[in-house]
Structure formats: structure tokens, C-alpha cells
Symmetry: none
Subunit: 402 residues, 2 copies
């Protein structure tokens, strides 16, 4: 008997609300997507509340949840995932933050939170990287565009500190403050404030007047996470562009497969991502494939581009259909949350889910979409149950009782 491999495809922000220009269909419903529809028809469908019903999830908490690591237990801020995602080898106890290279005007007000969308923050990261502040080592590494990750490595650090980033333009950079009275939180906040200040002194030396400060946010301390491979006994890999997703996967113990052209944006090379699945099919048991474009286009209020991105992805999925038909893979497609293209924000609405492959109780749903999934056989499911269901299809879930 062939033991099928699990291909778990997550479209970021896949779900949407009815869109007038799409005849009151969602971008997914309106998309021409013969492969996704075939998966849906060959499978069982449902609606996923990725964290819990009524919770509006961030991408970080949602991914933890659908990858089986309960965010209420493990989530301590986004920083560590971003840092791991840009290639920093984190150690337990590290406090990690996200940073934007940004623009301050003469009055100390932020005028652009992305420094004119600079292409690469590597030179800026180098100015911070390697500093030692109050005995704490600072590690900085550039992410995509204007982004970087900063890690504080030392003893007695805390993530109970507020952001220095005000998250808005026309505001001053804030002083990070301890959220409690501990010496650890006070020390950490003071280090963050010193980094803020150093960046304002050092960044202008690079000669770009609109890249003159650093906005620090999302402090999180790295604590112990469950290891995905060990928990489920599955050799697991992650195929993603965005640092956050690679970081989450890395921290959960996935092998990161780096793919040419995986940008973590709408222009990512989806064909190469799927090729990374098919070419490594013998090497891994579980493939977590992340596609960011759907979220990016909804955050920009572009439902038609979201629809086209889904259509492009669908074409790229063609090599998966014969594998599914041959029983060599179990395929599951879903999103991490709904992003309303109208509100340009995450919402609590469920995301559609399909699971196809050997062992699945195929239902009557014929196409993949928010509304078709309403009558799916899986009903309404919480994110934390999904991995358990997928693993159980392989007969690998633990027995409760006897």
C-alpha cells in the first residue's frame, strides 16, 4: 500500500466577503480554478474558524493554530517568527522584535513607515548588528524590503514591553515601556529605546535622507514549542516566501525548502513552489505550502487581483491532480483567515477548507468556495482540529482510551 504524503496549501487571507464587481461572489468563488474545483469535488469540504469562532486572527496566531500549536499556550508576540524566518538561529530566552526602516521629518514625526519602500535593509541592519547594550548582544538581519528582525540575546530579558512603533504616521517614535515592575521588563525596554536612538544616529550615515529611523514592535521571547515532526511522526517541510511563515515553520521544527522566486508577495513563483513538492515527494511526509498573494491583494483592496492570483495558483497546481488521482497525496487547501477586500482587514469570517485523498468521506460539494463549503461534510471546524484530522487520515493520531 502506498502511504500518501500530505500537501497542505495555505492561501494567506483566502476568505473574503461578497464583492459587488464580482456579481456578489467572493474572489475565490469567482475565480476560474479547475484544479481547486476538482480537489473540492474529489474531497470533503467545510468552514474553518482558524483560531476560534468569533476570534479575528492575525497571521501568526492563525498559522500556529492550524499547524497544531495552540496560540493561547505558545504565542508570545510575532518577533521570534520573523527573526527565525530571516535566518537568525534563535536560542531559548532570546527576545526578538520586528523593525521597519522608516522616515522621520524635522519635527520628529514619522512621515513614511516604509522609508519609500526601500528595496533592501541589509546595510541598515549591519549598523545595528553586533552591538552590545547593557551586556546584551544585539543581532539584526534584513527581511523583505524595508523590514528587519532584531534579536536581544542575554540573560534576564522580558517580552513584557510596549512597542516603540506608534503604528501610524504623523506620530513620534514612542518610548518602549515595561508592562510590569520587573527588572527584566525595565532592562528590555531601555535596550529597545537605546536601539531606537542608535538607529536615528547611524542610519543617516548611509546617505538616504528618507531612511533615517527604525520602528520597533512585536517583542516576543522564544519559549519551547512543540516539535511538529516529533508530535506527528512526519518528516515535514515548509515552502514559503514570507519570513513569518518560514519562521513559524522553523520554530515548529519543519525543514525550510528555499525556492527560487518565492518572494512572499503577489509575484511569487508558484510553479517553483509546487515543483518543490513534486520533486521532494519521496523525501518528506508533510508539505506546508504557503501562498501570500491573496492576503496582500485584499489588504490593498484589490479583489480582482486576488481572484487572478487564485487563478494563477490554480494553474500551478496542475501537477498535483494526477498525484491525487493516483492516491499518492492527500491534499488540503485552506486559508489562515478571511481578509475582506472591502474593509482591507482581517475578519472573523470562516475560511473554506477542502481535504481530498485516500480515506476521505467525499461529500457533495463540487466547487471550492466560501458558499459551496457551507454545505460541506466537515461543517464548521476549529483550526486546531485540522492537523489532527489530516494526521488521522494516515492512522497516526493517538488513541484515547482503549
Amino acid at each position: 500500500m502506498i502511504v500518501p504524503k500530505i500537501v497542505f496549501i495555505v492561501f494567506d487571507g483566502l476568505g473574503d466577503r461578497p464583492i459587488k464587481e464580482l456579481n456578489n461572489l467572493t474572489p475565490l468563488e469567482a475565480a476560474i480554478k479547475p484544479n481547486l474545483d476538482a480537489f473540492s469535488k474529489m474531497g470533503i469540504n467545510g468552514l474553518l474558524h482558524t483560531v476560534k469562532r468569533g476570534i479575528r486572527p492575525g497571521s501568526d496566531t492563525a498559522h500556529l493554530s492550524i499547524l497544531g500549536a495552540d496560540p493561547e499556550v505558545y504565542y508570545r508576540g510575532r518577533g521570534p517568527f520573523e527573526a527565525a524566518g530571516v535566518g537568525i538561529d534563535l536560542e531559548l530566552g532570546d527576545v526578538a522584535l520586528r523593525g521597519n526602516v522608516a522616515t522621520l521629518d524635522k519635527n520628529g514625526l514619522i512621515t513614511d513607515r516604509r522609508a519609500g519602500r526601500i528595496a533592501d535593509a541589509s546595510e541598515f541592519a549591519k549598523l545595528i548588528d553586533g552591538l552590545t547594550i547593557e551586556g546584551v548582544k544585539i543581532i539584526a538581519r534584513a527581511g523583505v524590503g524595508h523590514r528587519m528582525a532584531i534579536v536581544l540575546r542575554g540573560v534576564n530579558l522580558s517580552d513584557e514591553v510596549t512597542d516603540a512603533d506608534p503604528h501610524m504616521t504623523n506620530e513620534k517614535i514612542l518610548l518602549s515601556k515595561p508592562k510590569n515592575d520587573s527588572a527584566e521588563a525595565k532592562l528590555t525596554a531601555s535596550i529597545i529605546n537605546i536601539i531606537s536612538q542608535k538607529a536615528q544616529e547611524l542610519f543617516p550615515t548611509l546617505g538616504n535622507p528618507s531612511a533615517n529611523c527604525l520602528l520597533l514592535r512585536g517583542a516576543g521571547k522564544l519559549t519551547e514549542f512543540p516539535n511538529f515532526e516529533k508530535t506527528y511522526g512526519l518528516a515535514s517541510c515548509c515552502i514559503a516566501g514570507g519570513a513569518l511563515y518560514k519562521g513559524i515553520a522553523k520554530i515548529l521544527g519543519f525543514t525550510i525548502l528555499n525556492v527560487e522566486g518565492a518572494t512572499g508577495k503577489g509575484d511569487t513563483n508558484i510553479d517553483n513552489k509546487i515543483k518543490a513538492v513534486t520533486e521532494n515527494l519521496d523525501k518528506y511526509d508533510f508539505f506546508f505550502v504557503h501562498l501570500k498573494g491573496t492576503d496582500s491583494f485584499s489588504e490593498d483592496g484589490k479583489p480582482l487581483l486576488k481572484k487572478e492570483y487564485i487563478e494563477r495558483a490554480d494553474k500551478a497546481f496542475s501537477p498535483l491532480l494526477p498525484l491525487l488521482k493516483e492516491g499518492r497525496i492527500i491534499i488540503s487547501v485552506t486559508g489562515d483567515h478571511t481578509t475582506s477586500s472591502e474593509l482591507m482587514a482581517h475578519t472573523t469570517d470562516e475560511v473554506p477548507l477542502l481535504v481530498a485523498g485516500p480515506g476521505v468521506r467525499v461529500d457533495k460539494v463540487e466547487t471550492f468556495g466560501e458558499r459551496p463549503a457551507q454545505s460541506g461534510g466537515l461543517g464548521h471546524m476549529e483550526g486546531r482540529h485540522l492537523i489532527k484530522y489530516l494526521v488521522d487520515l494516515l492512522g497516526k493520531s493517538p488513541l484515547y482510551g482503549n
Copy 2:
């Protein structure tokens, strides 16, 4: 962009079971209700477990739940809601009870729990109001008909006491007993028993021999409740007749709109209630409209009158349909529980739910009812999730994670 207002209509005891005389339809299913059916068709539908699956809710716990205040956390007895509903300004620490003016025979047995349904208990309440017993101030105010609310105001009071009302005829009035050994519970029970006794001494002086005692029940201490307006950032009002519903809304921080002809009974003026919505549409963001008749008729075993009440309400809803079509309101209609007209009692059966308006993923359900809702896109939902969903349609729910 218009920001729609939320109109949340709760029919008390809306759900029912199949009724033989109605061709095995429920009163709601059998009703001719073009407006409700239009809302249903334009919206998404589902089944609501107002507290939790398997829980048979009282009207008080169910309303707390669907208005977002978890009864397991906040519910301490019905008394405070009734007291707030008849206009007593409660203070934290007050213990409130409900009371019926009733009839005792010569042997001290209760022969009528409603004193021949007297029209007004105001004169009776005045006999109790203003007493001071063991240093505790007594406040009494009449409700509808034979009902009144009694508040004990002082330090060291407890709601851990049993009812003096035996809840049945042909029984004697009980002695309220402390449920634990605390001095507070003992004091409170003793005050309740003194009030019982005073009522038997004083009520006969009013000259109605069949209104000669007071049945006290539902002791509850007022604790801190979440403020609905502040939690969701919505200016909120309540349009209801019954004291309980006004009281719950008042304690949760709603503005109470008093409407002419809102009796809290089957003869209430529903047109005036809807007029209070349409005339105040610019003033509030959230309208909680309560209709009691459905419950009253089921409690009396009158499913046909329940059906007719729904039809009458449906006619009154006509002004809402154009507002819905214009995208000016989000409308949600549901019940607080099922009341079986055959059992003449609340049951655990789900209540149908519809939500229509901008942003809703319209499903295929075409009429409003218990059975049609079984295939609705919302599936089975718990009451506590409903407000979160409604608020999220406006993009107002908090983000968990990043």
C-alpha cells in the same frame, strides 16, 4: 461609505417544536411572514444554542449570553435585572429579589400565585418600600400586574439564600434559608423572612382579601457587568416592554427607549417599537428590540396565537426592508430560547437565526424557520459568538495576534 446600524430583534421563546394542528410545522414555519422571509433570503442563516448546546436556558441567562455577557461569569440570579427593569437604580452590593402578590387561605396555603391577576401592585409595594430591617434598607417597586421587585441595600448581604416562594400552589410560604454558613447569608435570609411576615401583616389592610401575601424569589447580588457600549464601541439602545429585558439592557449599559404601548405582553405595540428604531436610526449604532409575545403564547400552550403574533410582528417590520436594501442596516433576528407550546416550557432546542446586510455571505436559505435554518451557512452557533460576528461585520472586533 455608509456604516450600517445593527438592528437586533429577539423574539422571546421564538423556537418551537412541530405542531400537529399546524401540519407538523412550527408556529414560525407556518406563519405568513414575507418580511422575515425576505431578510432570511437576503442573509445568512443558522441555528443558535443561546447559552450552550444541551443547556435549557432561562430568559435571563439566554439574554446575557446573546448580548455577550457570559452568564457563567456574570449571572447571580434574576432579581437585579427585574429591579433595574422597574426603574430602581441599583448599587453594587445590592441584593434584589422578585416578588408576587399572592393569595393565602386560612390554613396558610397558597391558592393563587398571582392574587387573581391584580392589575397593579403599586400600593402593595409602598407598604414595604422604605422599611429598615436589621440596618438594611428595603426598596420595593411594582412591576407589571401582580409583580414587584424588592432590593435589600446594606453592607454584608449575600444572594446565597433559598426562595421563600415554593413556586406551587397548595403549599405554604417557605422560610428562606442560607445556602452556606456565612453571617451574610444568614442575615439576608432572615431579612427576607421578616419581609414575608410584614407583607402578611400589612397587605390585608388594603382591603383585597385575595391579595394578602408576597412570594419572594430569585435573590441576586449586583456585581460588575461588562459595559456593552464600551466593549464594542457602539452607541446602543434597548426597545422592550418586559422589566427583565429592560433591566438586563440597563445593567449592560444600554439606553432604554420607552415606547408607548410596549406592554411586554402579546398585545404590545410592535409598530411603535419599530418606529423607535427608524426614528432613532441616526442616534444609535445598535438597536436591541425585544418581543415577548411568542414566549407568552407558548407558555400558555397557544401555538396558533404564537403564529399570529409572528405574522403581526412581520407586518410591523415592513419599514425595515427598504433600510436593509439600501445597506443602511444590518438586521439580525433570533430568539432567546425555544419554548415548546406543547410542553409549555423552555427547551434546549436551537433557535433559528438570520443575519442580513452588507458584508454577509448570503446562503441558499429562502425562508426563516427552524428547519430551513438547518442548512444555513452559519451552521450551529453558540449564543456568545453572535455579537462578535455582528460587530465583526462592521470591522470592529479586536485582532488577536498580528
